[in-house]
């Protein structure tokens, strides 16, 4: 049965090219207005000394070249990479480890509880996990420092120590996001036939060798994909930093997104903020392209 439509629309729909396009139209309009256009407009803004209260002046690429001499930019860049470098192996490593643990548990009692408890931090929002971990890392009454001292160590004051602020934020981020990776890895592991695990076990190779020689190659596509996606989200980090250290102590944990936020909404230098956004985009683009070079385009379209 054909739904009743006004004649001109019905005629348009009969042409399959216009018809196909019509179905896409609602999304395409929203996309063009709120994703594509802002990006173009953003580049335009980045070519100006754009200050909402003081008026704007065209300065070409000066916002970009200025960044080259901006020590604060280089510091933020370094901090962003340092955070990504620390948080990625934590998120992916723990996620993979947990996925393997839970596979090992099979259908035994408690498996559901274990999985739920590993996964559930992911559902908390960034402000919640920041408040929790700031409290855990508290230099005077935090659990972590207390128990480390009990173990006879002399722990740093983490969030208040310029060298430890970013690693501490990375640890909290690992706890937060590893569960999500675990769930995704589990799906990849379940796609591996049981016989491969059994054969490996019969082979008698020790677990480590089994892991590196058999499992890792099979999981390589899923791992690379996770690597790219985790990298992207790590380079964008803002919430945890803003909430846990506010970029401090000093500027020891000021990341690119935080510098952008401050440039735009504290110093009202929108041109510089827009340029920073493009630099961040460029970094993410390069990381992704590098990642997908190893992956092949097919896996990009094939989901996990």
């Amino acid at each position: 049965m054909r739904p009743h439509l006004p004649k001109p629309i019905a005629r348009l729909l009969r042409n399959r090219h216009t018809e196909g396009l019509l179905f896409v139209l609602p999304y395409a309009v929203i996309w063009a207005l709120f994703l594509l256009w802002p990006m173009i407009y953003g580049f335009y803004i980045s070519l100006f000394k754009w200050q909402p209260l003081l008026g704007s002046e065209f300065i070409g690429l000066k916002n970009y070249t200025n960044l080259l001499h901006d020590a604060r930019f280089w510091n933020a860049l370094k901090n962003t990479f340092w955070f990504a470098f620390l948080s990625m192996p934590l998120i992916i490593g723990i996620g993979l480890l947990f996925a393997l643990f839970i596979r090992g548990m099979g259908k035994r009692r408690g498996a559901g509880f274990v999985e739920a408890s590993f996964f559930w931090p992911y559902l908390l929002n960034v402000s919640i996990i920041s408040i929790i971990w700031k409290w855990l890392f508290d230099p005077d009454f935090g659990l972590i420092l207390y128990y480390l001292r009990r173990l006879g160590l002399e722990p740093p004051v983490f969030l208040n120590d310029p060298r430890w602020a970013i690693p501490a934020i990375a640890i909290a981020t690992g706890w937060w996001l590893a569960g999500y990776r675990m769930v995704v890895f589990r799906a990849a592991i379940e796609d591996i036939p049981d016989t491969i695990f059994e054969l490996a076990e019969l082979d008698g190779a020790n677990p480590l060798v089994r892991f590196f020689r058999i499992l890792l190659p099979l999981l390589k596509p899923a791992l690379l994909f996770a690597l790219v996606l985790t990298a992207i989200s790590s380079f964008r980090v803002l919430g945890q930093v803003l909430m846990m250290t506010d970029g401090g102590p000093g500027r020891a944990s000021e990341v690119l997104a935080l510098y952008l936020y401050r440039a735009g909404w504290q110093y009202l230098e929108m041109g510089r903020a827009a340029a920073l956004g493009f630099v961040l985009f460029l970094i993410i683009l390069v990381v992704t392209l590098l990642g997908f070079r190893f992956l092949g385009f097919e896996s990009e379209l094939g989901g996990r």
């Binding site: 994703l35 990006m39 839970i102 035994r108 408690g110 803003l242």
Partner: protein, 296 residues
Amino acid sequence: MTEVAPTTQSWSRSRARSRAGLRWRDVRAALQGLGLLVLALLWLVPVLWMIDTAFKPTPEIFTLPPRWIPSRFTLEHVQEVIRDWPFLRWVMNSAIVAGGSTALSLVISVPAAYSFARLRWKGRNTLFLVFISSMLIPWQVNAVPLYFLMNSLGLLNTYAAVILPIAAMPIGVFLLRQFFVNIPGELEDAARIDGCSSLGVLVRIILPNSIPAFVALGLYMFIFSWNEFFWSLIALQRPDLLTLPIGLKALQGAHDIKYGILLAGAFLASLPVLMVFLIFRQRVIRGMTLTGGLKG
């Protein structure tokens, strides 16, 4: 290796199993299970400690050694948060933003994904690639221009300012297309022979067969927008419009190290998710698997 070897091996294995081996295996499995259970509990410590702190009298929060079991259970922090802060308002704002983004995203993504998956038309693949590539555009690039755009549209400090850009994310089109492509063609052919239009096929064949995909995408979008931080921080600055994450940031800004109140706020903010998770645990986890490796 001789041909006898495997037989010998399996013989000795089965003999070992029938004697002490069976018990040893059980013990090992039990130990592994126990180890994991301990690890899982350890993983929960931050959350447990949050709850512990939220319901403890203030002096007992700031004591060393840390006091796990408080002398009494108190609601003072929770009450203070609810009394001094529009907490329910934040929850409602978050629900509106998350619900609106999820609904709009589904409504516009479904026909688009259907067209990309099942209809043939000129420029289809090119346009799809353009959409997919735009997944890489982070909020940070668009924050500044979106701010001015929303301002000139008069949408700053409205829910729409957050809902529209989230719905514009291509992830929904991408995931649904993956799903629609895999629905068998025979169903559609039969409907077409019966005279169904493309719209008819979408409504009668595709929609009823895609409920799991809608649930998965819906969950993903809901969680994403429920937790969205960066853009909400910029677009919703009026106190009565704050979403939960931004409200908590305001709470932290005002109380700094009054951890009783802060953790009571964090606890309250995690309650809705906790409840949904306890009820729909399997569904949430499976939904996450369906959305694969994609995150914002």
